[in-house]
Amino acid sequence: VKLLGILRHFLFIGATVIGQGKQLYLEDMFVRRLKWMSIEEFTDGLALCSIVPGPNITNMAAYTGWLLGGWPGALLAWLGMLLPGFLIILAVAVVARAGVFPPVVRGALAGVAATSVCMMLTVILRAAPTACRRVRGGWVLLVGTFAMAGPLGIGVLPTVAIFGLLGIWLNRPTRSSR
């Protein structure tokens, strides 16, 4: 993929990725439509983003751009992902500095939020079996992470530290596998 192609694709993705279930949209684009990576590479990218701070989708963009075109690819993909939303939200900030949303916009906002939940569940349905099959105790790690960061409300950082280390320990190289 040429560098300008990376920029063009990511400008499109950056302009069209909306709502909370962005991982599904990225999986749909990167793995299924553009065939830039395998589902394993996608899961690797998500894993990477889970231990790196900052917004997942700009991190995923930089990771994907780097896979496709090294550091220049990473920069262009990151820029493409950020720029459309940046320009739109800046325009909103300029025009309606302290504006209150009309009911129809609030309704649309609520509709987008509802679809986010089904998109998150779909990406789990698609990627979790692969992610869990590859490691010992995969499902325990998934459910434990969910319980701790979700219902128990413990922060993301301690959750990733505990279950990340547990996963690594469960899957450490044994004497026979070395």
């Binding site: 302009a15 069209t16 709502g19 909370q20 949209y25 690797d44 990218g45 894993a47 990477l48 889970s50 790196v52 701070p53 900052g54 917004p55 700009t58 930089a62 990771y63 780097w66 990473a74 992902m81 950020l82 459309p84 940046f86 739109i88 939200i89 800046l90 900030a93 302290a98 504006g99 949303f101 309704g107 906002l109 609520a110 509709g111 987008v112 939020a113 509802a114 679809t115 986010s116 939940v117 089904c118 998109m119 998150m120 569940l121 779909t122 990406v123 789990i124 590859r134 490691v135 992470t145 960061a149 979700g150 922060g155 993301v156 959750t159 279950f163 996963g167 469960l170 899957n171 190289p173």
Partner: protein, 175 residues
Amino acid sequence: MTGELWSILLLFGRLGLVAFGSGSSILSEMDRETVARGWLDHTQFVQAFAVSQLTPGPQVLYTTVIGYFAAGYPGAILASIAFCGPPAVLSVVLASLWSRRSTSPWPALIRRALGPVAMGLVAASSFALAPTALSSPWAIALAAVGFVVLNVRRVSPLWVVAAGAIVGAIFGSGS
């Protein structure tokens, strides 16, 4: 660079590097710090966050609005880059370290072991979102239909989001 811009660079740079999971984990700290600096009031902060939910791109683009309120266009650019830039550099550095050919089994092992953890975090995000997002019958129905359509018909998620916005504008505008 003015003092205000330095202040934006340092605050957003710092918060970007501690925002694990998603931008929403540092929301309360961002609210407190930016309101205390007099860049905007709490109502404006909540509105900025709400707008960022409906605009494309990363959910953390409320940082752009705050930067603009604090120091105009340069503030908007600086806040966005300071928040989203350093973590992206970190991602690529880590990815390049991971992909180095080595005889050690550890890089691949760590990557694989973190896969289920990443999936668990997605599940936790949906759990955090569900009480607000699915608070009315039409929203629950919308999510259920969306789930079926995504998995049976395999349509692009974009269409589901668009349908969600339209259905929400019709049924949710009274709430």
